[in-house]
């Protein structure tokens, strides 16, 4: 290798980043070992580069920068999940109606039975009379849907749910998954409770930071099941309070 070639390759022979292929790098090092001028020029150039590089990198870090970065990232994550919960809540409230309609309208039904009106009356009567509390609801659900046992919610923010207002309980279709859904009615107000399982949904973030958000006249409140850590309850109710659907005094401020 001659000096001119060596000088051209010097820029590619940075100690911190191998840019030359091994053959060229070896040839260059061989030339530098034999040529004092090129070796001196290389040393001077690398010394200068190190000197300027250290100066460029020598920037003091502000105190507390790391903590401020982590705080900002945590705030961004919380904001993202609040927006997501709003979308999930609104979708959950609407998806049941829309998907239920299409399933009822278009699902193929071989051997369609003739509706039995007496059966329907008996079913409604059993629905209304046989589930005055969470335990009876759980028993009824186990009989009707043995593959989807229910751990019924009993309280909302330390006040007992009024199962006398329960008007409907069934499996609802949410994002392609069948989940227990309870409907409470009080006058014009409604509250639905969806029971989501970690076997059907990724609940990590909802469990870590259960949100309460408002969207389009509904409130969506996510609460953890106290008896089963793999379940969450999603309350979707009209207005901004569950007061019409609970009994007992409100908890004291602590």
């Amino acid at each position: 290798m001659d000096c001119k070639t060596a000088r051209l390759l010097l820029d590619y022979a940075r100690p911190t980043s191998a840019e030359l292929d091994p053959g060229e790098a070896a040839a260059l090092e061989g030339h530098l070992a034999a040529c004092a001028d090129c070796d001196a020029a290389t040393r001077a150039e690398r010394q200068l580069d190190d000197h300027l590089g250290r100066a460029v990198r020598d920037v003091p870090l502000p105190d507390g920068l790391r903590d401020r970065l982590l705080d900002r990232l945590a705030a961004e994550r919380r904001a993202w999940y609040r927006r997501k919960a709003r979308r999930v809540g609104a979708f959950a409230a609407v998806a049941v109606l829309i998907l239920g309609f299409f399933l009822w309208r278009y699902w193929p039904r071989p051997n369609l039975p003739t509706p039995d009106l007496d059966f329907l009356v008996e079913d409604v009567s059993q629905n209304n009379n046989a589930r005055p509390d969470a335990d009876k609801l759980q028993d009824w659900f186990r009989d009707k849907h043995p593959d989807r046992p229910l751990i019924a919610p009993r309280e909302f923010e330390q006040r007992r749910l009024n199962y006398g207002l329960l008007t409907y309980a069934a499996l609802a279709d949410v994002q392609g998954q069948r989940v227990p859904m309870l409907l409470f009615t009080s006058g014009a107000k409604q509250a639905r409770v969806y029971v989501l399982s970690a076997r059907q949904f990724n609940l990590d973030e909802l469990r870590r930071d259960p949100p309460t958000v408002d969207s389009k006249g509904y409130t969506v409140a996510v609460r953890l099941c106290p008896d089963d850590p793999t379940l969450v309850y999603i309350f979707v109710y009209t207005g901004n309070s569950m007061a019409p659907f609970v009994t007992g005094p409100p908890p004291p401020f602590g």
Partner: protein, 181 residues
């Protein structure tokens, strides 16, 4: 945008790279306040788009790229930047004195601020270690030859501004920055 990256992964990225990222932001922008804003913005974007980082070994280059894009976005909105024209960025300077004098931090930042961004970014990426010429070319979407040329001219500018020349004459055969580029 998809789910934010896991908290643990993001925190590891912060711990590993926030000093280098902040320092790069400071050299790009010339301001501690802007540098901190840019660093926060880069990590927030990284958190939301973590799924795009397929190779963890490329995390540093990826973060630097996000930050540079954020900086360019801000700069485009601010047209009042006093920089040298590309024509004024010089050739290889004379070899400096030996021993090398200390570099004054304010003079260094002024010298960097004088460079157009197209020259400042390569020299900063060059001096922030680990970045190969191909990395720099990839980040700036430039041919390798253009990167080498801009690096040589930016280095010459910094040397001329920061380091006084030695008394010796240049040796024969020492190439100038524009030769062959």
């Amino acid at each position: 945008m998809g789910l934010p990256g896991s908290q643990r992964t993001v925190q590891r990225l912060v711990d590993d790279y926030y000093p280098a990222l902040y320092r790069y932001a400071y050299r790009l922008s010339g301001s501690a306040a802007d540098a901190e804003d840019l660093t926060q913005e880069a990590f927030c974007k990284a958190q939301l788009n973590l799924s795009q980082l397929r190779d963890p070994a490329r995390a540093k280059a990826w973060l630097f790229s996000i930050l540079r894009n954020a900086y360019l976005h801000r700069v485009r909105a601010d047209r009042q930047q006093h920089v040298l024209s590309l024509e004024d960025v010089g050739d290889v300077a004379e070899p400096p004195a030996d021993p090398l004098p200390d570099v004054d931090p304010e003079r260094l930042q002024r010298a960097l601020d004088e460079l157009p961004e197209a020259f400042r970014t390569p020299i900063l990426l060059y001096y922030f270690e680990d970045f190969s010429y191909r990395d720099i070319a990839g980040q700036m979407d430039l041919p390798l030859g253009t990167v080498m040329s801009r690096l040589a001219r930016a280095k010459a500018h910094l040397r001329s501004r920061l380091l006084p020349p030695a008394a010796e004459v240049l040796a024969d055969g020492r190439r100038r920055a524009t030769d062959g580029l």
